[in-house]
Homo-oligomer: 414 residues x 2
């Protein structure tokens, strides 16, 4: 039985040391971790083969198996991922602003690590090295709890990182792995208030819901995206078609793909048949009663469809009377992730940007751009769908906190 | 029985409308609220008299009774507090930065309201109008749950604010009050995940601990301050004395006062007798074995003393061998609020600023300065002692979230 309190205690002590490291030292350790991954390619592949051998027992689909499978090239990519993190600026220590107050105190707001970060995630083993290196770079100790599908891969990856730390006289507890894939231990992690400064769950709607109900530690919710494209009456129909198709099928299994298309009644009869034709045989349509006449082979959309993140080649379609109805529908059913309008109308674009409640709101662009790398952050630890602390793609600064440093010359309060 | 789901639903709808108001409209409504408070002075005093009449039943101390008592002047101060909020810049709508990414998308990060904020607080009725006006200014709906001691005062204050909203054709549900002072309803509020975007508890260690164990909604912990002044071997003793005395007795009942004084062994014999003399008869000392010889009438400090926020005229005192021992003691026992070193030594000051884990770390100044007004924020909704979202004194920007607004011209992801 894993003793989470022990892991938490170790992480806390390690976080303190880690928080005091300078950037050069952190980068040197990260470089050694990257080298160690490559040097240990055979044992990683061996562990990964153990996971793959079990994947049929777990009933894992072929597409997921592919994401789980490691190759020499993919291990090199993981190492290169760590090398990219080395190149990123270190936010720790930065004083964002400093001012003199009325008492003559110089007050500065300085970026510091969060402390101990817990991450619960699912299949892909590259998340292990990505998350570990991003947390390390920002001076945070991390406690990783991966899914059972990648258990052996994750375990060996963390062991290699820890061995590297020990070989370089640093605490291995900066990066820890929970050797237990039960729900019970995950729930315990969600309530480890004494040690965890934040928990980041990365996974499907089921995990996020469980975290919401269970967690008492500070949480950054990530990932679930029930997103929409709204085709306005003043849309350029070819642009709308390109954006809708891209947002739906370029990669349907990711959180920034769309699940429902909304179309203004004035253009539905022109737009929907083209959409149906373009995606014929590739996408299953579920339409409301006004959309159905323009969508051959579509089934009737139910209330549940509006609320579902399919992550699949399925698209719900609804015809709306107005932009107001589109915005109301979106704000009612979305998961506050990514939303787009296609329009040539200035006022419609401004209204949509202002009134739609989501982490990222687009005018005339695909929702698929919601991504830390694409936004230019150089890294991504996840996409926050909550409003506290971080919203949207999270880069290195989102893994930090602040403290006020105050320089006085004897001031007391009168 | 209060139906929190109903309050939550109403708050959510109201928050949506409130989020769309422009600054001038919000300020006009706030001005009318301020006027209405003054105009209703007699009924407020009447409700406050009801609270005061009950205060003996609740066993409230005289100092607390004083904080509960309203007068014509104090009601005017509450109204003026709202008028000060009107003067503050409105952070909503501000685009902090905007850049063009590699795909030619213009991406801006814009400040938006958090949505629905819950606040659990204790006795003082002025918190009701302060919190309501700060949340309103930042476009957030608020659900207030005050303590039983100020129940009638809080109730009438919220009613006056709501009546003002209704009289001006705005939803009264922007500012709601929970008509129930039971622990059960507070616990329910802590788990209202469907509606609350954040919960801010303002109160003592007991409340904060209960929130920590119970809350599943996002929380900003506030307030508890087990703070220290460390007198270094290179301190100017008169400055150290002034700062220690100010931090302890200028107002011992507040969260930025100190509870423990740490003194370097090299200066203990000079400093402690002066401290004892200065605070003789005013402060009860509890010392470790090395401090006791220099503190006449002191009792022996126990392990519990190091961890206690007295909020009273009591000071724990410990002699340390080194700055390292001081920092270790602080990081072990503090509540991450406010910490100060007194020293003339450059390296000691930098070490303390870097290694002490707290929201505000001071060199040669009293911890009593940790305060949103003193820091220059113009307002304060509380002092966060957690690391997520906000740390230290929280002003208006800490009551906001962000969203990315993205301007494209037809981009799709390749």
């Amino acid at each position: 039985m894993t003793d989470l309190n022990k892991l938490g205690q170790q992480a806390k002590e390690s976080a303190y040391q880690l928080g005091l490291l300078d950037t050069a030292t952190k980068n040197q350790l990260l470089a050694k971790m990257a080298d160690a991954l490559e040097a240990n390619t055979p044992v990683i592949l061996e562990a990964n083969a153990q996971d793959l051998a079990k994947s049929d027992d777990y009933g894992i689909k072929e597409t997921m198996k592919d994401r789980l499978r490691l190759t020499e090239e993919r291990i090199k990519e993981m190492a290169d991922g760590i090398r990219q993190v080395i190149q990123l600026p270190d936010p720790i220590g930065e004083v964002e602003k400093m001012w003199k107050n009325a008492d003559g105190l110089m007050i500065g707001r300085q970026r510091v690590p969060l402390g101990v970060i817990g991450i619960i995630y699912e299949s892909r083993p590259n998340v292990t090295t990505d998350a570990a290196s991003l947390c390390f770079k920002t001076g945070n100790a991390v406690i990783l709890r991966g899914g059972k599908e990648a258990f052996y891969s994750n375990q060996i990856l963390v062991k290699i990182l820890q061995d590297t730390l020990v070989a370089n006289d640093f605490s291995p507890y900066a990066i820890q792995f929970i050797d237990d894939t039960s729900h019970a231990i995950a729930n315990e992690l969600m309530r480890l208030t004494e040690y965890l400064d934040v928990l980041i769950p990365r996974g499907g709607a089921g995990l996020i819901q469980r975290v919401k109900e269970t967690a008492t530690v500070p949480v950054i919710e990530t990932g679930t995206g029930n997103n929409h494209v709204y085709v306005d009456k003043d849309a350029q129909l070819q642009m709308a078609l390109d954006i809708a198709v891209n947002a739906k099928v370029q990669r349907p299994s990711v959180c920034n793909a769309i699940e429902t298309l909304l179309v203004h009644q004035d253009v539905a009869e022109f737009f929907l048949p083209k959409l149906a034709e373009t995606l014929d045989g590739q996408v299953e349509f579920r339409g409301d009663e006004r959309a159905l006449p323009f969508l051959p082979n579509a089934s009737v959309a139910t209330e549940e469809d509006w609320a579902t993140e399919y992550l699949d080649y399925i698209l719900a379609v609804k015809v709306v009377d107005s932009i107001e109805e589109a915005i109301t529908h979106i704000n009612r059913y979305n998961t506050k992730h990514s939303e787009a309008i296609v329009t040539d109308n200035y006022f419609a674009s401004q209204k949509f940007l202002k009134e739609v409640d989501a982490a990222a709101v687009y005018v005339n662009a695909s929702t698929r751009f919601t991504d830390g790398f694409v936004f230019g952050f150089g890294a991504e630890i996840g996409i926050s769908t909550q409003k506290l602390h971080a919203r949207g793609p999270m880069g290195l600064p989102e893994l930090t906190s602040t403290k006020y440093i105050v320089y006085g010359d004897g001031q007391i309060r009168g």
